[in-house]
Amino acid sequence: MTPAKTIYLDYAATNPVDPRVAELMIECLRPEGAHGNPSSGHSFGTRARAMVEKARQQVAAAIGARPECIIWTSGATESDNLAILGVARFHADRGRHVVTSRTEHKAVIDAFKQLEKEGFEVTWLKPGADGIVRPEQVREALRPDTQLVSLMHVNNETGVIQDVAAIGAICRERGVAFHVDAAQSAGKLPINVEAMNIDLMSITAHKTYGPKGIGALYIRRRPPLGLRPLSYGGGQETGLRSGTLPTHQIVGMGAAFEIGERDREADVARVTALRERLWQGLNAIGGVELNGHPTERVAGVLNVCFHNVEGESLRFGLRELAVSSGSACSSGSDEASYVLRALGRTDQLAQSSIRFSLGRFTTEDDIGRAIAIVRREVERLRALSPVVAQSHGT
């Protein structure tokens, strides 16, 4: 099975680079490109620096931030860790209670588990069966010694949207730092860090048609928020993130975010229509259920569980589709998605769930073919199943 024949429906794992973005990156990589070290004082350096600063403005503009609040990282994983470990460790003497949810990305969950090892107490909020954490749950979790709340904007497995603005308002009112993992929402939903009272926000380029290996952390600067760096060195990015700045990567992220925000509404409308069509097609097969909230969801993600079909066989049967179950980092592992388990799905149903994620380059034809393939496989496997008779669906 060559990738050419495979239909890519795994945009939530990573995106191809938009050709317009790739062009700009390629220019940087050419011999005549801006190859200087952005920290160097000479003309090669200042040329690269100017491109880095332009990209910072582009990214800042896309999320309603001031450019000096953006610091470059290697991706959302690093941004999440820098925000969570950074704030908690810096303010550890003021309090050791922190709050997050059970359906966060591993980068957040594992950072909080590390904090537990360092003596912090973590409140793990449990979302409802629809995947939503109610703002009231956050309010109830806050204590006088709470330093940080971290909740994602859009869940990577289900596409469910959290009401981060309402949660931000609660945190601001109580003077608790609020971190949002927005890896899956940038370019898909309107974001305004100021209006939403977000203090720290993780973003990454490769979920928004930019390159892999570059991300950013938004950090509120007024009043300043103390943060301990993860690593030390040349002192780039106001000392919070040392290391030579990768100009071509940053240029790519800047362009990707500018395009993402400019074309957002049109992109979302197109993707929503395709997703609707996919859902109608899958639903018609019968014995399927949507995972997560039916409407509070991002355009491109559809997570569906298939009754009476074993998960591994379903995935293998669908190998002409590049889709995923669980998140990419742990996919292929036999464990059921902890996100779907937290939403109350049984192990079996969680394992028989498939995340279809669509994006800018998904076509009508892709969707039509995908529906046909899923129908064929689900029906085929159900026909072999000893339990179909006694179940709902077919």
Binding site: E310, S313, R319, L381, L384
Partner: protein
């Protein structure tokens, strides 16, 4: 990473032999083991004639290895008598299909299904 599947597994998974079941009736026996909650379930049904298995149908809920094993088995059981069925062991299937170590347990469920078929085979059937 996705697990690896041997060519035999892929072949049987994509083109399962003898899927389904025989309607209950004279000369038809049925063996079953496992459950959906366990992630693996087999239902075997066999038509018996002249103290030997004449034909087998299988149904399976499980991973591609399990579906392939059901299909593969449906061909191997033909011609066996009741004692041979009861003596059947999982190793043959393992050898033929190359189950990964962590999936060996599922072959024991298959073995149980075969034995359950043997149990269901009344000694008086011709």
């Amino acid at each position: 990473m996705e697990p690896e599947y041997s060519a035999t597994v892929v072949d049987h998974f994509e083109h399962p032999r003898n899927g389904g079941h025989f309607e209950a009736g004279e000369g038809v026996v049925r063996g079953t083991a496992g459950s959906v909650a366990q992630g693996t379930m087999f239902v075997l049904s066999a038509r018996i004639s002249d103290h030997r298995i004449e034909a087998v149908r299988f149904e399976a809920y499980g991973c591609p290895h399990c579906i392939a094993a059901g299909s593969w088995l449906s061909e191997r059981l033909v011609g066996l008598d009741r004692d041979q069925l009861r003596a059947w062991r999982w190793r043959d299937a393992d050898q033929a299909l190359g189950f990964p170590l962590e999936k060996r347990g599922r072959l024991l469920i298959l073995e149980d299904a075969v034995h359950s078929l043997g149990e269901a085979w009344p000694p008086f059937i011709p």
